[in-house]
Symmetry: D4
Subunit: 253 residues, 8 copies
């Protein structure tokens, strides 16, 4: 309920169009829809904020996920579910035969089509960059989510600092973008190096790169938080979705 | 053995009703019952403290769990086992066909009936509140345990701060309760926001919300410990049982 | 602004007593008072929640603290400032000669009198218990804050588990209280032992006990979070104020 | 040396305007200026990136800081030094009598004027928001740096979630801005709540708020990394400078 | 090679019984036996230190474990392997049909018989005490190892501080022992309480108690390291073997 | 109050020598002495456990410390205070001119004489060993406390593994002792090496060695907890007092 | 592209042999080869640095790994893949029947033969040393990688400090080597002891030794970082590959 | 005592030149010199290992430091003390007027001259490189120690990845060196970038860079341990001395 909604409600109250009791009731109950299994769906978010509700997969049971997907589909909205394991993804595809599960990124879509198998454009208002091939799972979560939010998005992969020269052909495109999402594991050095080379603000996404490094991604996260180059902000470890959501808000301004 | 028991024992000793040797013996051995497999059951706890013994599932073998359940049942007490995996829960139901295993909450009951599938009352002397649908497992552990301890308990789910307006219809009930149990993962911000809105003391239960976040629930725990709103105390991560036990003691006062 | 205030505002709007523009203005600006130095004082909190605003000392400059104290005094409210260093406490007493600074607890009062030098009552609806004499600073913060909030509060000190027998004379009073605030450093074992002996819910406050232990109080905090006895909730390290605020809300129910 | 510079150099080489030896020499030595004390100043950065070099104060000796300030002043550039202790700030003002040291923010300026004592505008393309008055030091570092980079910047202070209603009068301005810098300590809940209310992307800056909380700001940092509301990215603890630098790059796009 | 061996070698050298070359050779090669798979077995340890070599299971492949067991058996020594998973334990029993695998404790024995199924003696020069039934796996590792080293060992289980009175009947035996091994998870409070009640030195063994607590056993370890009662030393988490080895050295003095 | 005391009390009750009320009273109040400032002194501990009360310095104010010292002196007991800063130590010597403050070890004695300036005996039933000269402060705390508890104690210093040959002349004495207290910082390797060379059980005391290493003494503590040589138990960082208390209990058996 | 390449390019530009456009193109695109699945292969690395590209296994999908292996094989290079699980290793052997998978070390080779089953030479310019048999997996990763890079490498295993005498026969060879790679878990004491005995620089590789110790290898890592003997540098936990790469660069000097 | 010394001793024993008793005595006592204050000086280390003993300053009292310096000077050796605070450094210069204290690096020299004020050579067999001017303190500790050990050492400062082009003029010298010591704080990215550009092995030294970053240097340490470029080994935080000692051993091979 935005400030405008509030003012309209007050105006209608002042004109007698609604009674105080009705106002209070509508104020309290409008945008919330309680489903079974403890799920309270926010189907009005797309209209309110311009970003539709995205279903976060972890910790939800299959019946809960089914309720969320069904609820959004019933509201006529495109559906995106994130961080699904293969087992959960396949279970949902059995329930919703029109849904598509993308295992590498853990994304499931319904009523919306994503092309995640490449080749990828190397330019866009938002470009996802990865340090290594191991970072592709996280990068595809960001890339797919950005596409879901309507961004013109590119993807450049495997150009980490162990061979800085691999960055050269992409500097021009990266400089033109409005924001970069840079996924890197291990030493997390790529955002710092890029921020010293291009004027574009950088959202660093630390990745666990196969979950085989010391303290799973914490090293990379700390490097991004402590970047010696100005212009880097950090997302949580492996949080490709969050980076795309931030980029979407930024590009809408 | 309470202070009153001690005084009675002294009185009977002073009157010669028991000898010093008998007193010492009864003092030492009364409430303890040693079973096989290293289990020492405290079947007198219900009489002593008003809270019956609850069996903590993790780390116990099936034979140990069987002994605990059988021992409590033999003492004529209702049985609650917590934190059971599906495998252990099913094994116990095979041994005790009258027992019921609730997989989402990890609770097993015998000689006592829990209704955990909803719909849930939205009011009560104690209300369990969750930030997200992913928190339902922990919330149901708290809700089920509170019912086991005899509390008049409600449950309101999926009303986290990403959409604060979802809280509005519940403020009145939450203000009337004696204590709230607020389960939240991720940023753990819900207890702080609620404590600024209602006069009810809040037991924050950080949840791991699917165990896919950085440092599993520690973020949420730290937020609750550092709450900027007075009136929040913290339970350990995912400890729905402990919150219900605290609430039970508080409501009995 | 409570639900009742909102309903009254709506009623006045519906009757034309206020215009929509006036309503929106009053809705937005009423309880907030912006002072210099970035301070926004909430002088309406006492009326709204029953607990007056308490000034948190750390991180504030002397000019900021002066503004806060003056603002509350100007509103005719009693003043409590917490966590003051000796240097800041003395500086404020120079500015406000009627204020009293209690160095051991770090509390400063104005327009309100605290008796913090003992002897302390051993009973009350809330009793502060300490494991060691080193915990007195934190205990006095809790005790003083509880008195400020109007609780009937007791204090029992130096009765930790290294000599469990020291607890015996206090068990009766501790059992009668509505809530205990138990301050303990080192192994933090006292809340667990007490929770096995009395039916009273316990707010554990881990203390740094002179800041000379491993990982300053974290050991004690973790023990309280992992208490094996049901009925213990944890406050943050050294957070005597928070425990008293929680107890105050609880006793007001 | 940008891509355009490189192309020009190649063109001049191809035309014989410079020899290969000269090209190599200029390629290597142009923008770097080695001073005494191990300082290598990058006076060309303003021309190259649009952001002048800012001197990071910690870990530098007074002679090193003197060299940095003198070098930038000699190059005719405005000077900003960050994170200066009072002792270092005063020592530099003695050396450079025209410099101004702002103790609350730790900033020193020369050849450039900052107005940091308020009152502050409540609107702008970038708005700094603080949860508490204790966060003002960090907030002023961000505000001052943003002004140094030429942003139209506002500041709203002490509006944390312990009293959410304090946010109401500012929602409209916050919604219109291109980016918010939100400084919060303790539970770090303000960015999550704001991100659920406004469409503006948010740079969260965890603060240590007086360095008296558990694990100095880590709690707040983790809350921002784990924000349940999409649209939040995190800066390092107390890193007001970095947030302003990111905002500056973003607003220049 | 002890100091006496060295002196004898010098004497034989001085008398010409061995040449310098022979001495050097024997000095270097005597007690080491290299097997395949990177295993270097120390079969002389039993004679040298009174404690036979015990095989540490984790991280060894089945071929490595087979070599270790065979090597000790070939040297005519009793064999004890620790920390075996069920899969590895069963694989070894298939290879060595006379071996016995004790799943609850993870121990495997060959040429030596352990009785680990209870009932257990409640007295001895060394007594293993557990706080809960969940601690039995670690306790049996300690108890079995102590028996392997020839100690007269007792075991008392499930007597933690949630019900301190359960300790009473055992105080006399615990006071008479030379050393206690106290296994506790969660808050790890039992060693502190016991050390205030008996004059016996206590080896605290923190346990993970089903690996379901925060930071697996670290809480309990820190409590033991920070014990407020003098007379407690700590072993690593779940290290029942190490406690028994320490106790064995202590009782041999 | 030991088991024997309890039996005697029961006998006197049974014979009518005391009434139940008197019994209860004596049971509750006997060994506790409450002083001002929140101090509860346990002057009966020497008689009860054979170890007199030792005053732990950190976190106590000067008035609290004065009360503790005076209380013990009034009870005719020798006084040992540990972990005193130079400022506190000197303040106490001004109050108690007969007291002696040993700055290097932080110990203060009254009514008891310690010789802490060397040379030190190299043998004893308990021997304190240090890896480096930087460990002497902690070692002297252990050595002085052991002497206070009546142990025949030796001290061997600066024989760490950077030059293992320095250990050779001491192996014989170290093998004969009943227990070793080994103080080491940095890599904490000395206890592991010694435990492979001598049959004596080893109490490892990690030291911060000047507080200039990574994470205080945590590195050394973890090495001792993870010792690959059986026979090592760990005390907390810098806890020389605790090691001496454990050794004293052990040698009294 | 080395400095020499750059000078040659400038010379050809100056002579008109290439145009500026051609120069820029060649500067940007030469050594990078983009494959499907987000893989960018650096097949020129062998020529450029003397070390061929090694494929890091974790986090890559089977299709990605297949692309990497095929790409290197197509370029006529020997292939080494590290850190492969048994499942991935076997999947690759099915795709590339000439490849060999070494399960204990997690290495896969193609077009290159490794002998990893022992017996191992005890001397070489580089010698891998292990503290225990559990460290063999990591040691074989280092040994195999060193052989792949062309080093003359030895391996000595299971000679940890629990029995220091096992080191004696190897001291001469270890002193002659140019560098040692010392793999140790638990207390990580072996590098410190060795660095006090031989003049050879030591690369410490902390190992998780079966992943059953506290904080998986962190203890060992910290010991190596805090080594009291000069001459020890640390690799990351279990990073045998990295140690061999460092040794290879060192021996090539 | 090296293997050759041992063989000589055996030969003299075999020939009767020394008796067994004399041999044992000389074996035990030769290289150790016990001084007062718990200091055991190893004046033979220079002869034995080629590296003279260096005195580690932290944790030593002034009398201990005086003994160490005097002992080495008496043995005719040059003296280097590391990590001295200004207070300790000045105290020692008062005692030893010929000593020189270098405050920026914390080094004190006697009987040996260091030139630490620059300008510094940019080439050498070992080159110290710093990312920022704040790293100079640690860099000078490394540079001074390397000179003390006789290395031909260079120093290049303030060339971090925020402006990668600053590295260009130094690549040739860095490629020719035998080893690089790279000091970097914050994101610690410089070693990774350099290792991708030069064939020289790199010792990364994480620095705290003014101790104002999150978790003081841990971020930088983790980045170096997780370097994505092969050829980087890590020293402990701020351990310039250790890096120089490793480099010295490496260059002597």
């Amino acid at each position: 309920m935005t400030r405008d909604d509030l003012f309209q409600l007050f105006t209608r109250l002042a004109s007698g169009a609604v009674s105080p009791e009705q106002a209070l009731y509508s104020f309290q109950t409008q945008p919330v829809e309680e489903l079974a299994q403890g799920v309270t769906l926010d189907t009005h978010r797309l209209a309110r904020t311009g970003q539709g509700e995205v279903v976060y997969g972890p910790g939800k049971t299959i019946p809960q996920l089914k309720n969320c997907v069904q609820g959004l589909a019933d509201a006529g909205q495109p559906v995106l579910v994130t961080r699904l394991s293969a087992a959960k993804g396949e279970a949902l595809v059995e329930i919703f035969p029109d849904a598509v599960f993308h295992e590498h990124s853990g994304l499931l879509t319904l009523g919306f089509s994503l092309e995640l198998d490449g080749p990828y454009p190397h330019s866009g208002e938002c470009i996802v960059v990865t340090a290594g091939a191991s970072d592709m799972g996280v990068a595809l979560e960001a890339y797919g989510t950005a596409c879901f939010f309507g961004l013109n998005c590119g993807l450049v992969s495997d150009v980490g600092v162990a061979g800085v020269h691999r960055l050269t052909p992409h500097i021009e495109n990266l400089s033109k973008a409005k924001v970069l999402i840079v996924v890197a594991g291990m030493d997390g050095a790529l955002p710092s190096v890029l921020a010293g080379l291009v004027p574009t603000p950088i959202l660093g996404v630390p990745s666990t790169s196969g979950k085989d490094n010391m303290l799973g991604g914490v090293s990379s996260l700390m490097a991004m938080l402590n970047s010696c180059s100005p212009g880097v902000a950090a997302m949580n470890i492996d949080n490709g979705f969050g980076a795309a959501a931030f980029a979407s808000k930024l590009c809408a301004k």
